[in-house]
Amino acid sequence: MSEPVIKCENVYKIFGANAQKMLQDSNGNVDAKTFQENGCIVGVNNASFEVSKGEMLVVMGLSGSGKSTLLRCISRLTDATGGKIFIEGQDLLQLNNKDLIDLRRNKMGMVFQSFALLPHKTVVENIAFPLQIKGIKTEDSINKAMDMVKLVGLDGRENYFPRELSGGQQQRVGIARSLAVEPDIWFLDEPFSALDPLIRKEMQDEFLRLQDKLQKTIMFITHDFDEALKLADRIAIMKDGIIEQLDTPANIVLNPATEYVRKFTEEVPREKVLLIEDVMEVSKDNLGDLKVSKDEIIENVAEKILTQEKPVAVVNENNEIIGSINPAKIINTVFGGRKNNN
């Protein structure tokens, strides 16, 4: 596997007057309570993880869990108090101001919860802004921005002001702006939290469509567990600055690492999250005629499987049989293992 695009090693972010000193004294053993008694607030507590190229890591946590702080450490909007952050192998915390600006101008894009559009600029000017900051000629930057306007489906509204757009449209502008410089790394800080549920769903689908096309390396922050499940390659669940569990959606649902994570997974409709692959058995005996792909979501094939008497064959992309699944297992997965059913 190639070098990870983002790599964090024991990152701490502690707010307060003598945070640096207290962190040194604690030998990496940070207890939020003792810190708070000394007037320090722990934002991020010992975060270590990697994000590889083209992967989408969703950081999920409730408000105050430190997820936004973590993102701001990685984009260096705030300086981490301790630990190391590498962006494509470069030590982020060692960069000087000029290199940092260079990195942001060419490699990073960020979308904000409150859209953070410039109120005095039109849609197209907002999108062209990062390009103009880079020093690209007005005409070229406007042309490029117009491509972006089309990409996010805002054609015809390029001369509107942010205040004249709906929330969903404003966030489309935010997304287009963050993509204008064609960054490799894409940060999204609760981008859809301020939107209505219907619009949110529409934007999530739109986002998946874009990602399918662009294949960026993404860190996506959300407080919505369903959103995380829907979008993520991997999910990191944070609480009080600590990453409680970092795993694929299926593994989090099937094997919650802590009590806190389990509470989230309880209400999750598993058939919508888990793949056939996650629940299949390796035995290949006594198979019926029906075959299902291992990458199907259970919900989509459950009906077919439940009508079968014999176990159903599970095949991989080359149509080779790699395992089986029987109807009882489906029923067990969907209805079993929940607290209120036990």
């Binding site: 942001r104 953070a116 559009l117 410039l118 109120p119 005095h120 197209v124 802004f129 900051i133």
Partner: protein
């Protein structure tokens, strides 16, 4: 007892009042005490006590300290004066090359800086003035008098008024559209036709220097304060005092430092106009959402780009209010600076005031108002201007405004040339309509006021006598009857009850400064006039504001009226009242009320508007009627904002009370006016200005503390 437990604050207030009145009655008026008239000031009197501090002798009438504190700060004005003199004449002499005598000359550095600054300002003003009106000083500055004698053609001829008028309309059209263009055109035609062209352009030339400079300095200092806490902390108290100090008071020190003339007027205008610009810049930058700043950083902005491409444009709304303030202050200073020799409309206005010519003053005042509104609207339109990236324009389309201006320029020249033949034996009206040679409606206004006076003389006189004898004199006597200690206890107690210990200490320090100055009696008179003005203004303002709020159109109309009244030079208000009520306190107070009602009305409407719409619906659904909604919902919620209006009302009232010295009052303003014509007036003027500022700041502090508490209580911010 139940009552006191339920309302502990009420009990505390009652206690404070009891103490206050007990002190008032306990401390007798000393037999020797009498209100010292201004003229008797410098009489040496064997009854006077004196002390020497820093080598200055301070003489004063000694009373019981409970009655009047001794003027322990009496040396301050003298000391300021001497320091200024020392700075200007003795401190740090440097060698300066003198062009005329061709030799080095020794000059104090402050004087040299002041002279250089003066020369620079004068040059800028003359440059604009000569483009508009013609002249030769600018050419001379680059060449010499000898050169201009040999080449008389090089003298700038000045632009015919037709070109300036059409040019202003064209520029407005480009910036905003037909509406503003029409307004600009009409304004210019009015100015010209009414024969105010020359003074208007003189005023304009000095404002076109002062306003941009104030804007740049204000913005720069605002940015500096935003970026550094230390700068902000150093600036803040100065800003507070400057904002509440009557502009009059700054005139005297400026007179000493920069002499008399337009340049001094520009500098003094800048001193007054920069503080609001700084405050509003700071306010705007503070209000930029953190996510917008982060978005800017993530777009790869350098610090410079972040400031000028993200922060300032995003804070534009507040910064534009700052620009508006700068323009308004510049025009209000246009009149005041006539005292130190600025030419233009302000000077004419003062002349008209002296002749009690209400008509002429109105016309000149209207010019000031119109130009102020025009400049304000133009700067606003300029800041809001959009770029069109997609239009595929031809050369003609891109440059049509320039071409039009060329055509206008040519036509204007031709017209002016034709004018020389048309008006052979008289003035060339197509070039410039000379002062007082245009149309005038002055007679109409003058006759109108005369008619009112003749018709209603009896009633006016009766009202005037009643007001003075039954209300004003007793109120004034009451204020003067307050022993110093009682007043201090009252003010400090109020500070403690409203804002806690911190407020109490601040208010105490401010009051003590005034009490230790030699003008405590005068300050009481100022306070009495301001109090009366503020009370009446607030009653009128709240009533009018509430009534107008009931209907959206009338509210907007009222806000517009407030705008016009506020830009109108405050001096103009003095004339009609002076003609009707003579040289009495009534005149001053009516002018005060007219002027101070503006903010009271404005803030009432704005405060009522700020009540969230959801609450209206909730109230309606609870079945309240209109009156109940007003008293139970809207007033309590709008109250904090309305209190800020009272704050402004106090500042406006104080400002007008001080200007009222022009009519003749016996308060601090009278002394400031006297300091203006006094060679050693700088220190006195400045100290008096600070006294007035402190009166305003005492109330400002109390009201702000109250509003903050109230807002927190209501959960609105």
């Amino acid at each position: 007892m139940e009552f006191f437990k339920k309302y502990p604050k009420t009990f505390q207030w009652l206690f404070l009042l009891v103490v206050f009145f007990a002190l008032c009655f306990a401390i007798e008026v000393p037999e020797t005490y009498k209100f010292i008239r201004g003229q008797a000031e410098f009489v040496k009197d064997p009854n006077q006590s004196s002390y020497v501090f820093l080598g200055k002798e301070v003489r004063y009438y000694a009373f019981d300290v409970f009655w009047r504190l001794p003027p322990l700060l009496g040396w301050l004005p003298i000391w300021i004066n001497d320091s200024l003199f020392f700075l200007m004449n003795e401190w740090m002499p440097i060698e300066v090359w003198n062009e005329d005598t061709q030799e080095f000359k020794s000059r104090p550095i402050v004087l040299q800086i002041s002279r250089n600054l003066t020369a620079f300002m004068t040059f800028l003003i003359e440059l604009i003035r000569e483009i508009l009106l013609g002249g030769l000083e600018t050419i001379v500055a680059f060449t010499s008098w000898d050169w201009i004698d040999k080449n008389p053609w090089a003298e700038l001829p000045g632009l015919p008024w037709t070109i300036v008028a059409a040019g202003a309309a064209l520029l407005s059209y480009k910036l905003s559209g037909k509406g503003l263009a029409l307004f600009a055109g009409l304004t210019m035609v009015y100015i010209s036709v009414f024969g105010q062209w020359k003074p208007s352009m003189q005023t304009l030339s000095f404002i076109l220097v002062a306003a941009p400079l104030s804007f740049i300095f204000g913005l720069g200092l605002g940015i500096a304060a935003f970026r550094s806490k230390r700068v902000e902390k150093a600036l803040y108290p100065i800003l507070l005092v400057m904002q509440t100090m009557p502009q009059y008071a700054v005139l005297v020190p400026a007179l000493v430092l920069f002499g008399v003339g337009d340049h001094a007027a520009v500098i003094i205008t800048m001193v007054v106009a920069i503080p609001p610009m700084i405050l509003l810049t700071l306010l705007g930058l503070r209000a930029v959402p953190p996510e917008v700043i982060e978005a800017g950083r993530m777009s790869g902005c350098t610090n410079f780009q972040l400031m000028f491409k993200v922060l300032i444009p995003t804070a534009r709304r507040d910064i534009l209010i700052g620009v508006n303030q700068v323009i308004m202050v510049c025009f209000s200073m246009a009149v005041i600076s006539a005292f130190i020799g600025a030419k233009g409309l302000g000077f004419n206005l003062l002349l008209a005031l002296n002749q009690l010519n209400i008509g002429l003053a109105l016309e000149a005042g209207l010019c000031i108002s119109l130009i102020a509104i025009l400049l304000d609207k133009m700067s606003l339109a300029w800041a809001n201007k959009q770029t069109d990236y997609f239009g595929n324009l031809t050369f003609y389309q891109r440059n049509k405004n320039l071409l039009f201006f060329g055509v206008i320029f040519f036509i204007g020249i031709v017209l002016a040339y034709m004018g020389t033949y048309l008006f052979k034996d008289t003035f060339n009206y197509l070039f410039e309509i000379p002062h007082n040679k245009g149309i005038s409606t002055a007679d109409f206004w003058n006759k109108g006021v005369d008619w009112i006076f003749d018709t209603f003389f009896v009633y006016i006189k009766a009202f005037n006598t009643w007001l003075i004898q039954e209300v004003l004199q007793p109120m004034r006597a009451l204020y003067l009857r307050m022993p110093a200690i009682a007043t201090i206890v009252l003010v400090v107690g109020a500070g403690y009850l409203i804002g806690g210990l911190r407020s109490a200490l601040v208010v105490c320090a401010l009051t003590l400064f005034i009490a230790f100055s030699p003008w405590w009696d005068r300050a009481l008179v100022t306070a009495y006039m301001a109090t009366f003005g503020v009370i009446v203004s607030c009653i009128i303002g709240f009533t009018v504001g509430t009534l107008c709020f009931q209907n959206k159109h009338s509210a907007n109309f009222m806000l517009g009226v407030c705008d016009i009244f506020q830009t109108f030079p405050s001096f103009v208000y003095l004339i009609p009242v002076m003609m009707l009520f003579g040289i009495t306190d009534t005149s001053v107070l009516i002018a005060v009320i007219v002027y101070a009602t503006i903010p009271a009305t404005r803030y009432t409407i704005e405060g009522l508007r700020s009540v969230p719409a959801g609450l209206h619906d909730a109230a309606t659904m609870s079945g309240v009627n209109k009156f109940q909604r007003l008293t139970k919902i809207e007033f309590p919620l709008a109250f904090p904002h309305m209190m800020l209006g009272i704050n402004q009302t106090i500042v406006f009232a104080l400002f007008m009370v001080i200007i009222g010295a022009f009519i003749g009052t016996e308060d601090l303003g009278q002394y400031i006016l006297k300091a203006l014509s006094d060679k050693k007036g700088a220190g006195i003027g400045l100290t008096l200005g600070i006294c007035v500022a402190f009166i305003a700041l005492i109330f400002d502090n109390l009201i702000r503390a109250y509003v903050q508490k109230r807002k927190k209580h209501l959960g609105i911010d």
